[in-house]
C-alpha cells in the first residue's frame, strides 16, 4: 500500500488531498503516475502534463525515475511557490 498526497490544483482536480492504493511491488514514480491517471477523469486531468508536476517520496523531492515501494508516502504537486 502507498499513501498518496496531492496539493494545490493537483488536489483540486483529483478531488481529494489523500488516498491510498495497493501496488504489487516496487515501481518507478513514472509508472505510479501512469497507474494513478487511470483511476478517474479527475486523476487523468491532474496528471496529464508531467512537466507541470513535481513529486516527493517520504518528504524528499524525487525524480520520475525514483523507485517507490509499498509503505512509502508519495506526494504529487505543482512546482512550489512559497516564500
Amino acid at each position: 500500500m502507498i499513501r498518496l498526497l496531492y496539493f494545490a490544483w493537483v488536489r483540486e482536480r483529483i478531488g481529494t488531498g489523500e488516498e491510498t492504493i495497493e501496488i504489487p511491488g516496487e515501481l518507478s514514480l513514472s509508472e505510479l503516475v501512469g497507474l494513478l491517471a487511470g483511476r478517474s477523469p479527475g486523476h487523468a486531468a491532474a496528471l496529464a502534463d508531467r512537466a507541470r508536476l513535481r513529486a516527493a517520496v517520504n518528504h524528499e523531492f524525487a525524480a520520475w525515475d525514483a523507485r517507490v515501494a509499498p509503505g512509502d508516502e508519495v506526494a504529487i504537486f505543482p512546482p512550489v511557490t512559497g516564500g
Partner: protein, 141 residues
C-alpha cells in the same frame, strides 16, 4: 540558535530579532527579510510533514557556506490578507556579508524548495522562472 517554524499564526519580527541579538557579544550584524502578501489576499497551502523538514535542509545547506551565529525561519500557511507577513528569514553573524548572503540565499532556496503553494482569488500562483534562476545562481557563487 537555528530555528524553523511552520505556523498559521502571525509572528513578531522584533521578538525574534531580540532573541538573535541576545546570542552574545559577537553578534554584529542582523539581517531580516519579511515577505508580505502583495496586491491580493492569498491562501497558502503547505505539505505539513515535509515543509519544516525542507526548510531545515535549506538552512543546513546555507550554514555550511556562511559563518552564522544563528538564524530563524518562519513560514506561515492559511488565509492571509494583503499586507500580512508570510515569511520571516532572520540571520545573525559577526559581519554583514555573511548575514546578508545567508538571508538572501535562504529566501531564494525557500522559493524553490519548500513545499508551499499560493492561491490568489484568480487562481493558483504559477512558479516563476526567475525564482529558479535565482536559486541556481547561488551554486555558481
Amino acid at each position: 540558535m537555528f530555528e524553523v517554524r511552520v505556523t498559521a499564526e502571525p509572528f513578531d519580527s522584533a521578538h525574534e530579532q531580540a532573541r538573535l541579538a541576545a546570542l552574545g557579544p559577537d553578534v554584529g550584524a542582523l539581517v531580516g527579510f519579511t515577505g508580505l502578501v502583495r496586491d491580493h489576499p492569498l491562501l497558502i497551502e503547505h505539505y505539513p510533514g515535509m515543509a519544516e523538514r525542507a526548510i531545515r535542509r535549506v538552512l543546513d545547506e546555507v550554514c555550511t557556506r556562511r559563518a552564522l551565529l544563528g538564524a530563524i525561519v518562519i513560514h506561515r500557511f492559511g488565509q492571509l490578507a494583503v499586507g500580512e507577513p508570510i515569511v520571516l528569514v532572520m540571520t545573525a553573524a559577526r559581519h554583514r556579508a555573511h548575514a546578508f548572503a545567508a538571508a538572501w540565499q535562504l529566501m531564494d532556496y525557500l522559493k524553490t524548495e519548500a513545499p508551499f503553494w499560493k492561491k490568489a482569488p484568480t487562481g493558483w500562483v504559477e512558479a516563476r522562472a526567475a525564482d529558479e534562476r535565482a536559486r541556481a545562481a547561488w551554486t555558481a557563487r
